[in-house]
Amino acid sequence: MSVNVNTLREDEYFFGHKACAGCGGALAVRIALKVIGPNAIATIPAGCMSAVGFNFPQLCFKNNAIISTFAGTASMMTGIEAGLKALGKKDYKVVGFAGDGGTADIGIQALSGAIDRNDDVLYICYDNEAYMNTGIQKSSLTPFGARTTTTPAGRNIKGNQKVKKNMFEIVAAHGIRYCATASIGYLQDFMNKVEKAASIKGTSYIHVLAPCPTGWGIKTDECVEVAKEVVDCGLWYLAEYEHGTYRLNRRPREFTDVAHYIRRQDRFKHLSDTEIKEITLQRDAKWQLLDKQYFSK
């Protein structure tokens, strides 16, 4: 693996977009396109990244890019790939950038189909843990306790009562050629994974955690810090699945304080120490399961 800050293409392929200041999703898309290069053909469904990138005549993708239906990211990628093949094109990479709602909820069927057919596409889910473009509604990747407009923090029910869906494990369970998790707080790791995934002939999937200052209630300059902290405190993990084997890329020697991560975000403002303790217990149980099932120590 050779990509790093010195070898990365200096051209920008996602520039002038209208994302909020400090947007994690925009950073993920920008970096992935810089790794893949001008022959990336980007497919972006309804969601923040298409909303901020295609405000005609303000067109912010320098490479080929197209908006898909909300549910149809993976099917459109399949179609583009088939079309390019029919035209005899060789040097390209079809890449999708879909949100957590577009991936784990409405787009999961199309994604599952593409993996099943092993179409030669790279699907990247930028996970900002809610439907941000329509004003912060809960998705199945919204974490426990988070306040959204559809899971408000009331007197009896305090935010989202469900835990985050295990999207990485669901994708891996297809027996996909390659999939990985990442975070925009650890860009070197993310770049390595994009480079590897783009070189694979067949379906690959990367799930990158990408905080949203607007929806999470953090300051714009905290986005990268928070994306790092979520890994350090163990509420997110950096892993890969390749050739049927799971690998953990980073094992924090000691987790940092979950309470510190939670307390700095407005979406968790209503949580008491008891609920934070519960989130910590959920984390520990999750790691026990991960270690038992996938990552032998």
Binding site: E12, F15, K18, A21, G22, P57, N64, T220
Partner: protein
């Protein structure tokens, strides 16, 4: 190669260009997003380019041993200032 959609009528599959059918255009700047702007002190900067890497808007470019910032498109988020280990970037209030 970037081709304009009006350049030629596409009649067959072979005619369709393997390129964006529109021009990459930016008709308005994003500097209005900003209440503060990042300013780099080149004497403190060691050219690690972490700020260039982590800027969500891609407005920092490598400039020899240091960096330069495109203020037309910088939104003033402050990520570059936080990521800099050399304390070379500070935020200045916009008037």
């Amino acid at each position: 190669m970037i081709r304009d959609v009006n350049e030629k009528a596409f009649t067959t599959l072979k005619n369709i260009p393997f390129a964006p059918a529109y021009k990459h255009t930016l008709v308005s700047v994003n500097s209005g997003f900003r209440t503060e702007k990042p300013v780099c002190n080149r004497d403190k900067c060691n050219g690690c380019f972490l700020c260039y890497l982590y800027c969500p808007d891609g407005v920092i470019s490598k400039d020899g041993e240091s960096i330069s910032i495109n203020y037309d498109y910088c939104k003033g988020c402050g990520i570059c200032q936080k990521i800099c280990r050399k304390d070379a970037i500070h935020m200045e209030k916009e008037r």
